[in-house]
Symmetry: C2
Subunit: 336 residues, 2 copies
DNA sequence: TTGTAGGCGTTATCAG
DNA sequence: CTGATAACGCCTACAA
């Protein structure tokens, strides 16, 4: 490995000058000629700075951590993608940890924050609130992604309420009046807000809200399946189902099929998040596309900003934007 | 941040002793009493070593890089999961980079290898062979995961041939005799070996191989759709389709439906890789489960071994194990 | 505009 | 068994 010293020797200058050129320290003046000489030496020796030495000196690693529940979740894949892009753009590296990782101690993230990374994105609810608050002791910034907890302002979230409204509106526009909602776990902000959006849209359109049409699930396929079975047992079942996410929607569709019905002939189904395989399902799934990529990107932007400004707090941010992606799983009752 | 020095002061020993305790250097003897005194001090001050300083001194970052094509690919999610677990077990951190990342320069990985990481897992074919060979100049080890190229022995791959055989055998066992295969891109080792497995199993069972039943795809849903349409146009279409992966299978099923046929009533479909949503499809998809997790785990094991042994080469490894997961998308022709 | 010197927090090699 | 010392590669006042 070539070092800064060797570059300096080849360029016939003192190491510190090389360092200044490297760091593009604009306040300092460097003769154009020496600058080019140094750059030539850098290229000739194919030099790149040792990041450990830099970190040691500057006390910054230019790495940020990210905690996600599971790599096998396409929602988080999109968030990661946005986060990775923005991090790369700012010269940062992203260290992603899934909560499924074996041997994840309780103080894992505070240790990580202390010894390796400059900041942390928390995009999972598997870390409990006490542990999150204890991260404050590390004096390094963190950002909650797609979730909120009390007394923490540093969050970046989506407009899930709007997502819920859009989904519900689509079904209403198609002529449905008996619309069920299979929610996510109602202790999560996302599920709650989608539910609120559902209620608001019903009210806006003067459609009575009926408790029997609401089933709480756990955001899983199995949960969606069970919830749908309960809806099918009703005396007057709904004609359309708004599923809180795509896994729930898949479970619901499975239950519908298993009970001898068809989608969308007998039931229309819509889900939140336009994951990559939504169009490949049979029937293809109508979804509401949420700006997950942007959320990841913005979260990193906020975090890097906090790092460079040495601020531990910033006002929470909600990412606007939610788009209906109509496909085959929903159908109109109007032109019959 | 507390440092080793402060710990030393509190424990009334010289810093170097603390360092020895920290590194569990068994060759050196340390009085039991001082050891406990030091450990107490460590706990009291909540000390954890500065990894930058360590890296600088030892020239090891305890981080390994991993290049994947895309986070939105459940196959790689499983590989990452295995890699992450094993890395954590050995005290390493995993830095995952997708090739979809913006601003990924051609020398990205060699730079990364030079300045930050101790080794690299290459699980993508987006890096061309020249660049891979040029990584040798960094004198740090790398491992090809799920792929092979000429003149590189350091690979960890699956027994894709066995996967292809299992899939084909399943269809034959169900009584099918006209079995099509929608391959992946045949310049990839995985696609080629699945194809070979298909041919071998046909031969084993004395079923004639017919070229018209083979369609090459690009491992995508669209590719699967188009390939299936061609198969449907045949004078005597197959009764079963072995799809090289799940995305292809989904595309094929979509084409079948769009042409007014049913799965499995009219066509049986099987795909490789038991991704998390296979059971949620309608009909649920019969698959061959491949040991992706193990592949990730073994690849990291090999890499870490190469790092600690300071070897740049090791013999390639093939991970055994492939399991049929029968579901609704394949049906027997025998009991009719 | 460039050179000098000190130190970031560790570890490794000595000597005691 | 423990202490002293130098060095890893870089950055940053400060001096020239």
């Amino acid at each position: 490995m070539t070092t800064l010293k060797e570059v300096a020797k080849l360029a016939n200058v003192h190491p510190s000058v090389v360092s200044r050129v490297l760091n593009k320290d604009n306040t300092l003046n460097i003769k154009e000629e020496t600058r080019t000489r140094i750059n030539e030496a850098i290229n000739e020796l194919n030099y790149s700075p040792n990041s450990a030495a830099r970190s040691l000196k500057t006390n910054q690693s230019r790495m940020i951590g990210m905690a996600i529940p599971d790599f096998n979740n396409p929602v988080y894949s999109s968030i990661i993608h946005g986060a990775e892009d923005h991090a790369a753009m700012e010269g940062y590296h992203l260290l992603v940890y899934s909560m499924k990782q074996k041997g994840l101690g309780k103080d894992f993230f505070s240790k990580l924050l202390k010894e390796r990374i400059d900041g942390l994105l928390i995009a999972t609810s598997d870390i409990n609130n006490k542990h999150i608050l204890s991260l404050n002791e590390t004096k390094k910034p963190f950002v909650l992604v797609n979730r909120m907890i009390q007394d923490v302002e540093n969050y970046v979230i989506l407009d899930d309420e709007r997502g819920g409204k859009l989904a519900t509106k689509h079904l209403i526009d198609l002529g449905h009046r008996h619309i069920a909602h299979i929610t996510g776990p109602l202790y999560t902000g996302t599920a709650l807000k989608r539910f609120q959006g559902y209620r608001e849209m019903l009210q806006e359109k003067n459609i009575p809200f009926e408790v029997k049409y609401v089933q709480e699930s756990d955001y899983t396929m199995e949960g969606g399946y069970q919830s749908m079975e309960k809806l099918l047992e009703l005396d007057s079942p709904p004609t359309a189902i708004f599923a809180a996410n795509v896994m729930v929607a898949m479970g619901a569709i499975k239950a519908i099929h298993d009970n001898g019905f068809q989608v969308p002939a007998d039931f229309s189904v819509i889900g939140i998040h336009d994951v990559f395989f939504a169009s490949g399902l049979s029937p293809s799934l109508t979804t509401v596309d949420m700006p997950l990529y942007e959320m990841g990107s913005r979260a990193v932007a906020q975090l890097i900003n906090a790092i460079s400004e040495r601020k531990l707090k910033f006002p929470g941010e909600t990412i606007d934007g939610a788009n209906l992606i109509p496909r085959e799983s929903t159908r109109s009752l109007l032109d019959e």
